[in-house]
Amino acid sequence: MIKFFLMVNKQGQTRLSRYYEHVEINKRAMLEAEVIKNCLSRSKDQCSFIEYKDFKLVYRQYAALFVVVGINETENEMAVYELIHNFVEVLDKYFSRVIMFNLDRVHIILDEMVLNGCIVETNRSRILAPLFVLDKVVES
């Protein structure tokens, strides 16, 4: 099960966070800071899975942006590692340039892919379908 999904930049600024288990708002910032510290401390030739407290972090770095997913022991690390890439590919397909000013749309995309900590959709065209419809309505 996926516990949280984070996008954090190298400076430790959170760009997106979605928790699938309730975490108090004041504990989130601390958790995120710890998580990014853990990721930053690792070099390229170290593995992308970190054991952190009683769960695991799976992370991938895209330029200055880290995507970090917290999972419990029932999840397959490599499958989550590729899920991150799938997510990034979907974003890439939808947005052409900067994504950080479109917090709402990124969330909408993520909600199509992961619900309640489960991977529910990985088919790119199906992930984007509802968003395209919304955009079309706004456009017209």
């Binding site: 590692y81 917090l103 990985t122 088919n123």
Partner: protein, 1149 residues
């Protein structure tokens, strides 16, 4: 819906127009949407530019203030509102609460148009948690949107429902969502299945009736809908795999089709067909095929094909292969497949790709228990990984090694673990690894020296984060020795020597836990070493005491050690110096220890008696009722001190005092009440609990005696001439500081009427029994300090250190806590402190000590608590009913109640003439239930209670009977919030009207929230007659009220057992009536409602659950008249509670 959407490139440019990073605040003439978005953009940009957290906070606060003004302005358009919401989401994401916006998010979801609505829903799902009260306001919107003709709105509603929805409102939307399962669009059907999955997670009972529809979804013509249903199936199969074996064929077929590339091409990810779907299916197959050769047979082919197909070199195929390997090793084995899987693991482990190596190690760790040879094959790789620069790889390797440790390799593996620990900083990793080292050391230690050294390393590296069980187990092991008993002293000598060596180093800083262990060992066993002068050891301990880094808890341990050593030396300069030095200490506790030590030193004979050598394992009897203080109390009362009242009684009085007018008659004048209520209140712990056990009629024993000071059954430890050792066969734990301190202080004060002594002897045996029970209650939590070894390990019999079985292990190694308790209770020259102490004990003992009061409601409580164990039998309904009826009638016979002194509140004035006796409604009579008992009453109303033990909760049925000749309206029943219990739904109930001379009832489901052996749920009844009237009551609920049998197979038991971590072990003596295992287990089954899973030879396994669903497993073994109980549960308090109950029923039967 994908077919509706035409993803034309013409849409994209318009969409992307807003991503101009250059657009500053105001948007410079761009379209409204762009300018709105760029406001978020400018916020983000200005925050990114900031350098300090302080500046960020200032800026965000500013932003929040302006947002607050905007969202609450009536002129704000929905479009602007949407934009504000996104900014609020951003602020919350950075950790700044913006709760003022929550209600606006809900409004936006309600009023907005498509994208605005979507953002409203999004904000709700991000802002609110499952139990947030505002969520209820969303339900209406969701219902409306579900019925909308616009599919986009339906989609949004389904999405929010599957993210967050109040459980109690499920019925409002369930039929609508069920309808959607037949919808023509796949996306709607898919999202409906996802919503039902959510419902299954939060309220499985509510979707039980639609299991057929899940099957239909599984067979849906669209792959997406089918995939969505797999989440539900995975969950259901996890909970009960046997119920879904018939679906194995379907899952296999689906996997075959997916692997064979039969899905539409857009399900591919990097040309691998639906990889996550494959993984999901493989997991399901693993669960279904586990320990089931026939089902496993069905899937061999498809697993083989999966292995074969996944040969493209891409991460995602590795993920599939990993899952495949795990499934192959989980199901019934087939050698051909195992071979292929092993090869696959080999490829992983040897891979230069680090992520793959990790995956390989993880797989190896998983399969190594089935096939240790695999470790041999890869031993070189494993060795390499041990020195890998990546600590994560190292840690995973250690995990693997931990699983293959045996007597031969333990030294090396533990060394590797210790090396890792020295580099590791992360607390969680340290705790975890230290526990494993301690476990391995205890199990496989090759020799004593190594064991002691390793444990020293554990304590010094682990520092103060080590689990408290580790030092406790270690000390226990030293104290109890081993089966053969030969090496015991050798090991202790090693330990003493190693600690003396450690203390040689002047400047070394040791963790507190290590210092405590050292002190205890030195105190107990330093005299085993003959070549070291005790004076030297005392000097070292003395210098430790002076260090500032030593905590007060550790000082208690050190002082205990000093006292023990002092008892074995004739006279010591160091001790004298120490006494002098700390007599003026600013720390009260130090002064107290020194004071005790001084008094003991003055009477060496007494001191030796208290602190005999190597007696830490001997039985002790604790006079927890503090009966030796009775004379002192009597004296205090005689001087006019206020009598002790239990806490709840004080509370009741306080409440009743708050009434404006007092309509109750005044109580008796003080002089006479000293001897009645006063003494009873004080002496009751001894008298009443004693009485209820001997005669089963606590009311009688308790209240006949109220006019005299009752001292029989009270053992005199202290008399006018001081300590009375001759009458005492067991003085309790000899080195028990509590007794010591009381002695030195109270010796001169407590009177001892000699006439009563003859009675003492006769009652002693009953008294002992009572006290043992008390002792087991007192020390119950400490029994949990037992072993940590895994039951699942095949070679437990080869353990190096096996503990000796002890007759009664209800002892407390941690003397420090005794010290601390003693600190509170010892020095009570004023009577006032006694009640306080009593209250403390009351908290600790939960039950026994509070079984006393004159108030009728308390008697009811006692009755409830008392009859519960008997009444809870799973079978034999009739017998149970007659049992409980018996106890009720004897407790509530009219004659008893009439002996009562009228208590101040006069609540039970007319207890004997109850006009209306309620009975349970028909539908509840079928269920196991207690007798209906009276809680309280006054002139107008009487309140009765009946406990009904349903499968999923404790149903409290409260009857209110109207004794008057006019109807009462608006009678309001309210349960107070209790620490330990949770009342499902609302804690109150209003009876609209209760007709004259009739009975109404209501029901409340209760769960135990926080575990306790017994707790009180109190409440009140309010109603209007001529004037407002208020009636209070309380109900005692026992842990057993919430325990239900848990049916499972032996395999399930084994698996669950391994996954649980909280251990409690205890040996209890079996009485002659239940000398066989099955007799003992039957007792447990009947009285505690445990389910007997299996009995093999002299071992039995049982399972039960605490409502709603906390399992607790029990493993029993008989040997030489003892029953070894071993509990495991995910909840740490549950085994302790159950252990207590087990002891109780075993003693009773």
């Amino acid at each position: 819906m994908s077919d509706v959407v035409e993803r034309t490139l013409s849409v994209l440019p318009g969409l992307l127009g807003q991503h101009e990073p250059g657009a500053g605040p105001g948007g410079a003439g761009g379209p409204a949407r762009a300018s709105a978005t760029s406001r978020l953009g400018s916020l983000i940009r200005s925050i990114t530019a900031l350098t300090s957290k302080h500046e960020e906070e200032k800026l965000i606060q500013q932003e929040l203030t302006s947002l607050k003004a905007t969202v609450s302005a009536p002129t704000t358009t929905l479009r602007l509102m949407k934009e504000c919401m996104v900014r609020l989401i951003y602020c919350e994401m950075l950790g700044y609460e913006s709760s003022f916006g929550y209600i606006h998010a809900i409004k936006l979801a309600q009023q907005g148009n498509l994208l605005e609505k979507r953002v409203g829903y999004l904000a709700v799902s991000l802002f609110l948690h499952e139990n947030h009260e505002l969520l209820l306001l969303l339900v209406n919107t969701v219902v409306k949107d579900l019925q909308s003709t616009n599919l986009v709105e339906v989609c949004m509603a389904l999405t929010i429902v599957s993210q967050i929805f109040p459980r109690e409102m499920i019925p409002a939307v369930l039929p609508l969502i069920e309808d959607k399962l037949q919808h023509s669009k796949e996306i709607i059907r898919r999202k409906a299945v996802q919503a039902l999955y959510k419902f299954y997670l939060i309220a499985p009972n509510q979707v039980q009736h639609i299991h057929d529809k899940f099957r239909k979804a599984l067979c849906d013509r669209d792959a997406g809908v089918m995939a969505a249903s797999l989440h539900i199936y995975l969950q259901m199969i996890k909970e009960n795999s046997s119920g879904y074996k018939d679906l194995t064929g379907s899952f296999v077929t689906i996997l075959k089709q997916v692997v064979g590339g039969k899905l539409p091409i857009d399900f591919n990810y990097h040309s691998v067909p639906a990889p996550w779907l494959q993984i999901q299916l493989l997991r399901i197959l693993g669960l279904l095929g586990k320990n089931d050769p026939r089902t496993s047979e069905l899937m061999y082919d498809v697993l083989d094909e999966s292995l074969r197909r996944a040969e493209i070199n891409h991460n995602i195929t590795y993920a599939i292969l990993f899952e495949c390997v795990q499934t192959i090793y989980t199901i019934h084995p087939k050698s051909e497949l195992l071979e292929k899987a092993a090869k696959c693991i080999g490829k992983f482990v040897l891979s230069p790709k680090i992520n793959l190596k990790y995956l390989g190690l993880k797989a190896l760790t998983y399969v190594i228990q089935q096939d240790p040879n695999l470790a041999l094959q890869h031993q070189m790789t494993i060795i390499e990984c041990l020195d890998h620069p990546d600590p994560i790889i190292k840690r995973e390797t250690l995990e693997l090694l931990y699983r293959i440790t045996n007597g031969q390799n333990v030294v090396v593996i533990v060394q590797k673990m210790l090396d890792y620990l020295k580099e590791s900083k992360e607390e969680y990793a340290i705790i975890n690894l230290v526990g494993k080292i301690a476990e391995l050391a205890e199990k496989y230690a090759p020799d004593d020296e190594w064991f002691i050294q390793t444990m020293n390393a554990v304590f010094s590296v682990g520092g103060d984060v080590v689990h408290p069980d580790i030092p406790n187990n270690f000390l226990r092991l030293l104290a109890e020795g081993f089966d053969d008993g030969k090496g015991d002293d050798q090991l202790r000598i090693y330990a003493v020597q190693s600690y003396l060596a450690l203390l040689e180093e002047e400047d070394a800083l040791y963790p507190q836990k290590l210092l405590q262990v050292m002190s205890w060992v030195l105190g107990e066993y330093s005299s085993l070493i003959t070549d070291v002068d005790p004076e030297v050891i005392l000097t070292k301990l003395h210098s430790l005491l002076k260090k500032t880094c030593v905590t007060s808890e550790t000082k208690a341990w050190i002082m205990a050690a000093v006292t023990k050593i002092a008892s074995r030396t004739s006279c010591s300069k160091t001790v004298d110096k120490l006494i002098q030095e700390f007599s003026n200490s600013l720390e009260t506790y130090m002064r107290q220890y020194v004071f005790e030590l001084k008094h003991l030193c003055e009477n060496k004979v007494l001191m030796k008696k208290f602190l005999p050598f190597d007696a830490s394992c001997n039985d002790m009897v604790v006079d927890a009722s503090l009966s030796f203080l009775d004379g002192f109390v009597a004296e205090g009362l005689g001087r006019g001190a206020a009598p002790y009242k239990p806490h709840h009684q004080r509370q009741e009085e306080k409440l009743s005092q708050e009434k404006a007018l007092n309509f109750e008659p005044y109580g008796l004048s003080f002089a006479s009440s000293v001897s009645s209520s006063g003494i009873t209140g004080r002496q009751s712990p001894t008298v009443l609990s004693f009485g209820s056990d001997t005669s089963g009629n606590s009311a009688e024993t308790g209240h006949k005696e109220t006019n005299t000071l009752k001292l029989e059954g009270v053992r005199k430890l202290w008399g006018k001439e001081g300590y009375l050792p001759k009458k005492e066969n067991k003085v309790g734990k000899e080195n028990e500081p509590q007794t010591v301190a009381c002695g030195s202080l109270l010796a001169g004060q407590v009177g001892d009427p000699p006439a009563l002594r003859s009675e003492q002897v006769a009652i002693l045996s009953e008294e002992d029994k009572e006290k043992q029970q008390l002792a087991s209650t007192l020390f119950i939590g400490l029994g949990s300090n037992a072993g940590v070894s895994l039951m699942g390990k095949a070679d437990t019999s080869t353990q190096k250190f096996k503990r000796k079985s002890k007759i009664n292990e209800t002892q407390n190694i941690e003397e420090a806590s005794d010290f601390q308790n003693a600190a509170a209770s010892d020095f009570g020259p004023l009577l006032d402190t006694v009640p306080i102490n009593m209250e403390d004990c009351e908290g600790n003992l939960h039950t026994r000590l509070r079984k006393a009061s004159l108030c009728s409601s308390d008697i009811v409580e006692d009755n409830l608590a008392f009859e519960t164990p008997q009444a809870l039998k799973k079978s034999g309904l009739d017998q149970r009913l007659s049992d409980s009826r018996l106890s009720q009638s004897s407790l509530f016979a009219d004659s008893n109640i009439e002996i009562f002194q009228p208590p101040p509140s006069a609540q039970c004035e007319s207890a004997s003439k109850t006009p209306l006796v309620p009975s349970l409604p028909e539908e509840l009579k079928e269920l196991t239930h207690s007798e209906v008992v009276e809680l309280c009453q006054n002139d107008a109303l009487a309140l009765y209670l009946c406990k009904v033990w349903t499968d999923d909760s404790l149903l409290l049925t409260v009857f209110v009977s109207n004794k008057t000749i006019s109807a009462l309206s608006a009678v309001n029943l309210v349960f107070e919030e209790a620490e330990h219990f949770q009342i499902l739904e609302s804690p109150s109930y209003q009876f609209p009207v209760i007709e004259a001379r009739s009975v109404e009832h209501c029901q409340k489901c209760v769960w135990m929230d926080k575990i306790c052996t017994q707790g009180v749920l109190s409440g009140s009844l309010n109603f209007q007659s001529e004037m407002e009237t208020h009636l209070e009551f309380s109900v005692t609920l026992s842990l057993l009220d919430f325990i239900r049998p848990m049916e499972m197979t032996t395999e399930d038991f084994g698996n669950l057992w391994l996954s649980l971590s909280n251990d409690v072990k205890q040996n209890i003596k079996m009485s002659s009536s239940q000398d066989s295992l099955s007799a003992a287990l039957n007792t447990l089954q009947q009285k505690l409602k445990l389910h007997i899973v299996d009995i093999i030879g002299n071992e039995g396994i049982l399972a039960c659950q605490l409502l709603p669903s906390v399992p607790c497993l029990l493993h029993c073994r008989t040997h030489s008249g003892m029953l070894a109980l071993w509990f495991r549960s995910p909840c740490s308090a549950l085994p302790d509670g159950l252990l207590y109950q087990c002891q109780k029923v075993m003693e009773e039967s």
